[in-house]
C-alpha cells in the first residue's frame, strides 16, 4: 500500500511538469493545444536516444526541453502566422510529431535498461527520489511564476485574457502566443524525458492521452485549492497532478472495481468530464436560486409600498 502511494507521488511529480505546460496553454493562453500528445513523446524519444548513445542524462533532458520548445513554436506559428484554427494546428503537429518521433528513435521504441539516467544515483532510496523530484519540480514552478510576473510574462497572460487590450498597449500577441505554446511544450517534453528515464524506455505511443491527463491535473488542483493568483494556481496544478496519481493508485487497489491498466484513459476522461460538468450544473442552479431570491425580495418590497 505504502509503496504504491510513494510510487504515485513520484509519478505525480514527474507529470506535474506536463500539467504546468497544459496550464500555460489552456488556462493562461486560453488555447487548447493538442501538440502535447506528440511533444511528450518527443521529449521521451530525444532523452532516450541521447542517453542510450552515451550522453549525460541532464544534457539529454535539456535537449528534450529544446525539442519541446521547437515543437510548440511550430504549433504557435501555424496558428498565428498560418491562421490555422487552434485545435487543428495542435492536431497537425501531433500527427507530424508521430513520424518525427520514430525518426528520432530510428524505431518505435528505445530501451534504457542499464543506462545511466538522471535517477540512477538516487534510485535505491525512495525518500531521496521523492525529495529530489519535489525540489526540481518546485524550482521549475517558481521559475515559471517569476517569468509570469515579468513584463514579458504579463503580456503573455494578457494575451490570453484580453488580447485587444494588450495590443493597444503595444504587446505583440502573435509572439506572445508562440512563446507561450513553445514554453508549454518545452515543459511537457521534460516531463516525457523524466518518464522515459523512470520507466526505462521511450515509446512512440507514450504521449497518447497526455493532454487529458494534464487537463485532469489542472482541474483537480484548481478544484481542491482554488485559483488565487498565479503563484497559488501553479502550486494547485502540481498538487492536482499528485492527487490524480494517488486517486488512480487507490482505484487500482480497490479490487472490487476489477480495473485493468488499460482502463486508465477511460477513468481519466471520466474524471475530466465530471470535473467540467459539475461546476456548470452548480452555477446554473445557483444563478436560478439567486434570481428567484432577489426577485422575491423585490416583489415583497414592492407590495410593502402598496404597489407601483
Amino acid at each position: 500500500m505504502f509503496q504504491s502511494l510513494t510510487g504515485a507521488v513520484e509519478l505525480g511529480l514527474m507529470y506535474a511538469l506536463l500539467a504546468l505546460g497544459v496550464y500555460i496553454t489552456f488556462r493562461i493562453l486560453d488555447f487548447p493545444d493538442l501538440t502535447v500528445d506528440g511533444s511528450f513523446a518527443t521529449g521521451g524519444a530525444i532523452a532516450a536516444v541521447m542517453i542510450s548513445h552515451g550522453y549525460e542524462a541532464w544534457i539529454a533532458t535539456l535537449a528534450a526541453f529544446a525539442g519541446g520548445l521547437a515543437a510548440g513554436a511550430c504549433t504557435g506559428l501555424l496558428h498565428t502566422k498560418g491562421k490555422i484554427n487552434g485545435l487543428l494546428s495542435g492536431i497537425l503537429m501531433m500527427i507530424a510529431l508521430y513520424s518525427i518521433n520514430i525518426r528520432i528513435m530510428g524505431k518505435p521504441n528505445v530501451s534504457l535498461i542499464n543506462a545511466d539516467t538522471l535517477f540512477s544515483p538516487i534510485d535505491s532510496v525512495t525518500w531521496k527520489y521523492i525529495l529530489v523530484l519535489a525540489i526540481v519540480v518546485f524550482a521549475i514552478k517558481l521559475l515559471l511564476d517569476a517569468f509570469l510576473h515579468t513584463d514579458k510574462g504579463l503580456a503573455l497572460r494578457a494575451t490570453g485574457d484580453n488580447n485587444r487590450m494588450i495590443r493597444s498597449f503595444g504587446g505583440n500577441t502573435d509572439n506572445a502566443t508562440i512563446l507561450g505554446i513553445s514554453l508549454s511544450n518545452g515543459l511537457v517534453a521534460i516531463s516525457g524525458a523524466l518518464i522515459a528515464q523512470d520507466s526505462g524506455f521511450a515509446d512512440v505511443t507514450m504521449g497518447v492521452g497526455m493532454i487529458v491527463i494534464g487537463l485532469a491535473s489542472v482541474i483537480i488542483g484548481e478544484a481542491i485549492l482554488g485559483t488565487r493568483g498565479v503563484f497559488w494556481t501553479t502550486f494547485a496544478v502540481v498538487i492536482g497532478s499528485i492527487v490524480y496519481r494517488i486517486v488512480l493508485a487507490l482505484a487500482y487497489r480497490a479490487e472490487w472495481l476489477k480495473l485493468k491498466s488499460t482502463d486508465l484513459k477511460l477513468i481519466t476522461a471520466l474524471i475530466v468530464i465530471v470535473a467540467l460538468v459539475i461546476p456548470t450544473i452548480r452555477r446554473h442552479y445557483k444563478q436560478k436560486s439567486n434570481a428567484r431570491k432577489r426577485t422575491a425580495e423585490l416583489a415583497v418590497s414592492a407590495r410593502g409600498k402598496g404597489g407601483i
Binding site: H149, A158, M165, S168
Partner: protein, 264 residues
C-alpha cells in the same frame, strides 16, 4: 501632430454589400488639439478611429504622426504614439489580472517587454500616486482583480492606463457610452482634467451632443464617410445643441440619426 491625407476605406468592395466607410478624408490635428467627433450611425466615426489606431488599413491615403507615415505599421507598433480607450469598459483592461499588473502593462506601452519585474516597488509607488488622481480609492486595491471592479471604475482605470505614459495621440471611442449617466459624467470630468493637465492631442468620438460642445477646442461632424463640418474654437464656444443639429441637417440634408444619440 496627426495627419490624415486622402484616406478612403471601403467595406466589402465589389460585392452587393459594398459600403463606403471613409471617402477622401483630410484631417490635421495640431499639438494640443482636443477634437470631438459627432455623426450619425455609419458615418465612419469608428472606422476613422480604427484607421488611425491600425486595426484597419486604409485602401487609399496615408496616416502620419509627427510627420512620419505610420500607414504600414500594425496596431501594436502604433501604440508607441497612440493611447486608446474603447467604448466597452471590458475592452481596455485584463479582468483576471490585478490593478497593478494592468498598470504595469500600460506602463510599458510601446516599449520592449523584457524580463524585469512587471510590478517593482518603485513602479508600485508610481501606480499608487497615479490612481489617487482618479479619486476612486483604487490606490488601496492594487492587488484586486480588475474583473471585480464596476464598469465605471474599469473605464476610469482604462483612461488612466491609456494616458499616464503621455501618448502623442489619445483616441477616445465613445468611451462614456456604455455607462450610466452619473458614471459617464465622472469619466467625462476625468477625461477633461487629464487631457488639460497633460496637454494631450485628443480625438474623441461621442454621441452626446452636449459633451461634444462642452469638451475640446474643435468639433468635427461626419456623415456618410466624409467630414462635413469642422467647427473651430471661437465658433464652438457659443454653440448650442439645437444649432448644432440644425447645422447638421442643413449640410447633410437629413436629420442626425443615431439610436443612442444624447442631446444633453
Amino acid at each position: 501632430m496627426l495627419e490624415l491625407n486622402h484616406v478612403s476605406k471601403l467595406f466589402n468592395p465589389g460585392t452587393p454589400d459594398e459600403k463606403i466607410a471613409l471617402i477622401d478624408i483630410q484631417l490635421k490635428l495640431n499639438p494640443g488639439d482636443f477634437v470631438t467627433v459627432i455623426g450619425s450611425n455609419g458615418a465612419g466615426k469608428s472606422t476613422l478611429m480604427n484607421i488611425i489606431s491600425g486595426v484597419l488599413k486604409p485602401d487609399l491615403g496615408d496616416v502620419k504622426i509627427g510627420g512620419t507615415s505610420i500607414s504600414h505599421l500594425p496596431e501594436f507598433q502604433r501604440s508607441r504614439w497612440i493611447g486608446r480607450v474603447f467604448q466597452d469598459p471590458m475592452a481596455g483592461t485584463a479582468p483576471t489580472m490585478t490593478i497593478e499588473e494592468n498598470l504595469a502593462m500600460a506602463y510599458r506601452r510601446g516599449k520592449p517587454r523584457g524580463l524585469s519585474w512587471g510590478v517593482s516597488a518603485a513602479r508600485r509607488k508610481l501606480f499608487r500616486e497615479q490612481l489617487q488622481r482618479l479619486g476612486l480609492g483604487l490606490e488601496n486595491r492594487l492587488k484586486a482583480k480588475v474583473g471585480l471592479l464596476s464598469g465605471g471604475e474599469r473605464q476610469a482605470l482604462s483612461l488612466l492606463m491609456a494616458t499616464f505614459t503621455k501618448p502623442d495621440i489619445l483616441l477616445l471611442d465613445e468611451h462614456t457610452a456604455a455607462l450610466d449617466p452619473a458614471r459617464a459624467e465622472l469619466i467625462t470630468r476625468l477625461t477633461e482634467s487629464i487631457v488639460r493637465e497633460m496637454k494631450l492631442t485628443t480625438l474623441m468620438v461621442t454621441h452626446n451632443m452636449e459633451q461634444a460642445i462642452r469638451l475640446g477646442n474643435r468639433l468635427i461632424m461626419m456623415d456618410k464617410g466624409r467630414i462635413i463640418l469642422d467647427i473651430p474654437e471661437n465658433r464652438k464656444r457659443d454653440l448650442t445643441v439645437p444649432q448644432l443639429l440644425a447645422e447638421f441637417e442643413r449640410i447633410s440634408g437629413h436629420k442626425l440619426a443615431d439610436d443612442r444619440v444624447v442631446l444633453g
